[in-house]
């Protein structure tokens, strides 16, 4: 578990302190994939780097599995960093070393003497990320996705408990992004690794994260399970991120001026997403509905859907329909009465 207690950070630029992270309390659970989303300058990169103290906090305490990271001396910090892997937007592989030697590097730095042990571990790691046949190539000969896989293998070399991902997919195309995210989810599942990732893409959060924090101006403005935050965003910044990823699939009031009846937004999560709820309720209550906008998708492994629907019928029918929807596990928001 990673715990931030009143941690804050400011940079001094030309004598002026520029706050990067306001006093923050945060708990990241063991074994979860925790995402931080925010625009550049929101403080997410600072927060991530505070975890392995690539950035020094100006105050507060960071506890990781009972160790006060902020109190470690230089040697203690170096030992501690071996338990935290990190991958980067621009991969940061050594161009002068082969793939195998890049992956071996953390072990050599940790003082592992046995070449046989290193070679065996490197082979294992490269097999896990699917790059066994590229062991003797140099990074320049690999594609972006392959480079990030090398980065992941390298980050796992010392068997860390935590993996920090700094915009790890931002330099990749959508298809490669999906593959890398899948690999991260796999590692999280199979090794029980806690993953903390930062991104500016809601889609990355939606695909792999369990919980998400939304950052703006050095503050975590919204925090919660991805499904909650994604389907019911509260803060303005969150709404904008969700909208960006939805690209207008939810429609807007102006489009519906001609539409009769009340307009509601229905949110399905889990099993109810694929159940024939709407048809059944329409038959049973006699209400009429028309779908105005919607999307059905997944949040991590969970199916979910959001439909904007116009309901027309008598008042009693409407009340009955709402009750039935709610009892079927559908969340209902009235957009226009």
């Amino acid at each position: 578990m990673i715990e931030f207690e009143q941690v804050h950070k400011a940079y001094v630029v030309q004598g002026q302190p520029i706050p990067a992270l306001q006093k923050t309390d945060l708990q990241i659970r063991r074994g979860e994939i925790f995402g931080l989303i925010g625009h550049s300058g929101a403080g997410k990169s600072t927060l991530l780097r505070l975890i392995n103290r690539l950035e020094e906090p100006c105050g507060g305490r960071i506890m990781i599995d009972g160790t006060d990271v902020t109190a470690l001396d230089a040697a203690g910090l170096r030992d501690f960093r071996r338990k935290i892997g990190m991958i980067f937007q621009h991969f940061n592989l050594l161009a002068s070393k082969t793939v195998a030697n890049n992956v071996a590097m953390p072990m050599k730095l940790a003082g592992e003497q046995s070449n046989a042990a290193i070679a065996q571990r490197v082979a294992e790691l490269l097999a896990r990320v699917g790059l066994s046949e590229h062991a003797d190539k140099y990074p320049a000969q690999l594609s972006g996705g392959q480079k990030q896989r090398v980065g992941i293998a390298r980050a796992l070399a010392t068997g860390p408990d935590i993996l920090l991902c700094d915009e790890a997919t931002s330099a990749l195309d959508p298809q490669t992004t999906a593959q890398v995210l899948q690999l991260l989810a796999e590692i999280n599942r199979e090794l029980g690794l806690t993953i903390v990732l930062i991104t500016h893409e809601m889609d990355v959060i939606r695909r792999v994260c369990d919980r998400v924090g939304v950052m703006d101006g050095g503050v975590i403005v919204e925090l919660g399970d991805v499904a909650d935050v994604f389907l019911h965003p509260q803060h303005e910044t969150t709404r904008r991120f969700v909208q960006e990823s939805d690209e207008d699939t939810l429609g807007s009031d102006e489009d519906w001026q001609q539409v009769q009846g009340s307009i509601v937004r229905l949110t399905f999560l889990g099993e109810s997403t694929y159940a024939p709820v709407l048809g059944r309720i329409a038959r049973e209550t006699g209400i009429d509905y028309s779908i105005l906008a919607g999307r059905i998708g997944r949040i991590k492994d969970q199916p979910c859907g959001q439909l904007t629907v116009a309901l027309s019928g008598s008042a009693e029918q409407a009340v009955a329909a709402r009750e039935q929807l709610q009892s079927a596990g559908v969340t209902l928001e009235v957009l226009r009465a």
């Binding site: 935290i84 940061n92 050594l94 161009a95 590097m105 050599k108 730095l109």
Partner: protein, 217 residues
């Protein structure tokens, strides 16, 4: 009209190669650590220290701004102290090293700064100490730049050796001045200049080849 004494030219070539090779060796041995130190103390680097960097930087600049011919003379007592003589090839090497080391150190500093900060950050995140960061990440990554710096320094040393005749060190440049210029033996001048040109050309080609080999790009 042949004034050319090929044996003399052979000896001079040997002297030039000895001075260049010997001083290059010591220049690299001294300049590489100095360059690393400049890099580490520089702004926003691992041991960033404004005062220490300013002092070191000043010393380097002063040494670099001294004309080599002056250095050669000023250093005579010091040279005698180290080599026991101020004459010949041995007498030329200390001033050559002192003249070239600050130059090489600057080139090394620049080459090290070219290494992506992300590489340093990644190495830090693996739990490396500063020595490991320099030794296992920064120096290997800067290797093409450092080889280029060695090449440029070697060529600069060849041109410095031309002045080493002042302390009787001999060499091709000395031959060109004493025979080609002062005795109007144009053919000697042409031969020595061509030999120097060939030497510089070989050094540059060798350096370029090594840079390409180690670039991995």
């Amino acid at each position: 009209m042949s004034n050319i004494d090929w044996y003399e030219i052979w000896l001079a070539t040997l002297d030039t190669l000895l001075m260049m090779g010997g001083s290059l060796l010591f220049t690299v041995l001294l300049g590489l650590p100095l360059g690393v130190l400049l890099f580490l103390l520089g702004p926003r680097q691992l041991f960033a220290h404004r005062g220490a960097y300013a002092v070191l930087s000043l010393v380097v600049n002063v040494l670099r701004s001294l004309p080599f011919i002056i250095l050669l003379i000023v250093m005579i007592p010091f040279t005698v102290l180290i080599t026991g003589t101020s004459l010949g090839v041995a007498g030329a090497i200390p001033p050559l090293v002192v003249g070239a080391t600050p130059f090489f150190a600057r080139l090394v500093e620049t080459a090290l700064r070219e290494v992506d900060r992300g590489i340093i950050e990644a190495t830090q995140s693996m739990g490396a100490n500063t020595r490991q960061i320099i030794w296992n990440a920064v120096l290997p990554e800067a290797r093409p730049g450092i080889i280029a710096a060695v090449t440029v320094t070697a060529i600069t040393l060849v041109s410095y050796t031309a002045m080493a005749g002042v302390v009787g060190a001999g060499g091709l440049g000395d031959l060109a001045i004493r025979f080609g210029y002062q005795r109007f033996q144009t053919d000697v001048m042409v031969v020595t200049v061509v030999l120097l040109l060939v030497l510089v050309q070989i050094l540059q080609m060798l350096g370029d080849r090594l840079v390409v080999h180690f670039s991995r790009k």
